[in-house]
Amino acid sequence: MNAPERLARPAVRKLATYCYQCVAGPDLLQVKVVDGVATEVEPNFGACDVHPGGGKVCVKAYGLVQKTYNPNRILTPMKRTNPKKGRDEDPGFVPISWDEALDTIAAKLRGIRETGLLDESGYPRVAASFGGGGTPQSYMGTFPAFLAAWGAVDMGFGSGQGVKCYHSEHLFGEYWHRGFTVSPDTPFCNYVVSCGANVEASGGVVGVWRHANARARGMKRVQVEPHLSVTGACSAEWVPIRPKTDAAFLFSLIHVMLHEAPRVRLDLAFLAHHTSSPYLVGPGGFYLREPETKKPLLWDRKRGAAVPFDTPDTDPALEGEFAAEAIEIGPDEDELGRGRLAGVPAFAKLVAHMERYSPEWASGICDVPASTMRRVANEFLDHAQVGATIEMEGKTLPFRPVAVSLGKTVSNGWGGFECAWARTVLATLVGGLEVPGGTLGTTVRLNRPLSERLESAKPGPDGFLRPPLNPTDKAHWSPRPNIRNAYRSMVPLAADGPWSQALGPTHFSWMFLDGTPEGLPKVTMPDVWFVYRTNPAISFWDTPAVVEKMSRFPFVVAFAYTRDETNHAADILLPDAGDLESLQLIRIGGSKYVEQFWEREGFALRQPAVAPQGEARDFTDVATELAQRVGLLDKYNASINKGAGGVPLKGANWDFSLAPDRAYSRDEIWDHVCRAASAELTSGAESHGLEWWKQNGLATKPFAHTDWYLFPTMVKNGLRFELPYQERLYRVGQELGRRLHEHGMHWWDKQLAEYQVLPKWKDFPGEWEQAMVSQGGTAETYPFWLLTARSMQYAWGANAGSQMMKEVAENIAGHKGVIMNTGAAVRLGIEDGDLVEIATPQRSVRARAQLRQGIRPDTLLLIGQFGHWATPHAKDFGMPSMNSLVTMSLSLTDATGSGADIVRVSVKRAPS
């Protein structure tokens, strides 16, 4: 039968749904179903004017059909019969009924409720790990409502998030400009300096779409990275920088702009009126403040006097030295000085601080010619168009079409803060922060409301955005964390919202199980651990240790797609209905992750295109069953009413709330959610139910393009960007140090040094060299840097077991082995395709050498996260992962609680 005949058959249906397998989504698609069998995925062409990527989906979505019918799926609930756990133990899984599975889990949970939700250390007895940068929540139906009904849950057992995310970008980006993820304003930007940002692999459909358009219209992107990634391939220029030296590169750009370019090339008005640049800094490094109001002072050239920062009609001085009647307040409200005090504008402090960081200085560190850095700095200035404006939706806004973007490993671990700061300062110097063409935050995750970025920009002290900091003052700081990774005690910037648990030092939960450092309650194993769409046994660091530790967990419940390395330690496997089999409504549009800037906002439905395979069950049904069996139905329904399904069910003039004591079916629950979503979109005018959403797939309303930019909100609220000087962070670091030392906790002292008013270059690569030396190696015997890079085909998709994904991914270099510089390989007698051994002083892995010119001679690259030993199909790949070579250690943990995917190794032909 040919295609047209199939199209004509009445048994052919096309259903609209979404793909949110990675954080760069969600994207919209259609599933073609023939006689009840899903056969094809297509873009949602009907949404091409709504979705900022033309209604298209990336390669991962085309794996969904094969994913649905994968014969290796777990299709019945199963229980473990072998009480011994460990990589070498056969779990002995046997099928059981859903009733038995749910009764077993519910009995455990009821037992916990009788004992108490917290254990003897004060940690939640129930833990849950979800991977994928928060995307599993778009597949787990109302399970979040169950967790909310339950109470305290430890969601800080790292499965990759925290230590392997864009951590400094998340924490500092959100702190400085509500940019949990940060992006160039690609549709308007003309010049991008991209330090390792691999947007063509990790930016999703919208990122690829926008950058392709930008390239075609002439945007120049300079890709600064040790290997020529797919993004480097698509860039105008590749600068092969030595790993982990990006901060020096960026510092040198700032130096050129401050010490070589005329001042007038900077956006001096922006600096004076929209940043902390004119705030006077006192002898102790803290702002000089008006004694009565404690407001920071600036020097007003109009009045010839120091005035509070919010005085109208000022001409703030950016440079010079001034004396003022003031007080200087240090940590814990300590008064450091009072009276006539000398003050220097923060901008002048910056100028003096950056003098040492010339391109010539950076050249030796970065292995990049000084002339290249100087040229890039000047090109950045040339393209910035300081003074230009643009008309947009009837508003006149500054236009600065230049940006710097940062990738993973650059923006996390030691040096990450310095890079994030330098990136944001570069934008600030030309007035290119949060304006058309410039550097933008895309979304917020630490400030509420999570779906309203601009509304989250609430005023805080000193004329800045309200900082989402955990307390460090004596009255409120506590050495007794709410969860095991201790984010609230150790990482003020992690805030305390729903996402904070995943943004702390998530490796602490694993590391401290076998030895908790002084001052923290002993880290314990959770009584029950839920796992969904995550595989920390593969995706975390020091994976052999993680496997050993999770094997000691007493009761693990894994929502399981196939067998894998983490659910190898499970006691119960639950088959959840997959992407094409289950039901959920999610928010779309506005500005979301990475490069998802929409001009619409609303909701999209994921609907069952086909019946669940085997006994797989929709997550919502599982959540409702558990709520009933544990006796939490009323709280569960109340949580859904409150918005745990993504939409509050009661609004200004509508109420679709669930009755507290009734167990609703999946379709009933989502029918209520759909009606509330319709009402929210139309201010109560419409209340379309589930059937309408199934037919239409999505509904949206306009989202103003100008709402992509925070700058107008800052102006409206009279706020300044807290840049370049970091007085508050310095104070917070000092206070945190005092609190820790008061409790005998000195093991975080190295991290405390990261709290600086202006960051200094440190030998960041040396941190990883030193880690290798401490394991017994030397720079000569372990001369290579091993790095990783995103694979669009695999990233976040839980599709390592997909035949098609492997097949198509292998068209891209690096999916069959370790990428190595050809010249370096020749010197070691290694030929293309040779089996090589990559080793640290402690461990080694083997891979086939794939020789390329596009990588530094001192660098190796292992793409993605493989090394599977239990996942069907994937375990036969023969592809290792750097994760088993990377250690977890305090010394490699930065102050935000993160590390980086980098390790020093040796490489040689593997013994036959």
Binding site: V41, P43, Y69, N72, A212
Partner: protein, 216 residues
């Protein structure tokens, strides 16, 4: 006249293989059979090295070498430029596969499935006529013809456009009639520098590669 052609913008392609997967989907090709795929190429020597992603497949040549060598007349060329294979006539000799300078042809001799046994979707889409014969990119000719018959415009309306073009997330792949000066592909070619692969062979490929603006 109409000459269907594909124009590929190399500035846009990111090598994501979405087209590869979409083609496999739309045409239900077996594992390893990629009528559309994207090459990952590198030229130069460190540090002066360039990497490029180049989508390839059947070039639907004006003078297709595969047709010349076909002993059974299974390979034909339509008036609109599309090179076709009649599976009923093809004897599977594979001369065409050897003659094709673009390595665009496949022959699958036995049934293959992703995981050994057929899944429900594979079973639903199995086409025994494709066993033991030459196969290749068809420019999704059935979709094209059906779309045209329904009044759709190839290269503009998804229902009349090849699946790879529909799927492309960077808009690198464009399809249309290069005999129509107003078509999207004609305009793209007129305003950009371009080449065809192995032009020197005189095959007259129907796939063009754009790499910069005219005069750029």
């Amino acid at each position: 006249m109409t000459r269907w052609a594909m124009v590929i913008d190399l500035r846009r392609c990111v090598g994501c293989q979405t087209c590869t997967a979409a083609c496999r989907h739309a045409n239900a090709t077996p594992p390893g059979v990629q009528w559309r795929r994207v090459l990952d190429m590198e030229v130069g020597e460190y540090p002066d090295v360039k990497r490029a992603f180049v989508p390839v497949g059947c070039m639907h040549c004006d003078d297709p070498p595969c047709m010349d060598v076909c002993p059974s007349t299974a390979t034909k060329k339509r008036a609109d430029g599309i090179v076709t294979i009649d599976y009923d006539l093809c004897i599977g000799c594979a001369y065409c596969a050897l003659a094709c300078p673009y390595q665009a042809r496949y022959r699958t001799d036995r049934v293959q499935f992703a995981y050994g046994e057929a899944t429900a979707s594979e079973e639903a889409r199995l086409d025994p006529a494709r066993l033991g014969v030459a196969t290749k990119c068809t420019f999704c000719v059935e979709r094209l013809d059906a779309g045209i018959a329904a009044g759709k415009r190839p290269g503009v309306d998804p229902d009349a456009t090849p699946a790879c073009v529909n799927s492309c997330i960077s808009q690198a792949l464009q399809f249309g009639d290069i005999d129509d000066p107003e078509s999207n592909v004609s305009k793209l070619l007129a305003s950009h520098q371009h080449f065809r692969m192995h032009e020197e062979l005189g095959t007259g490929p129907g796939v063009y590669y754009v790499w910069d603006r005219a005069g750029g």
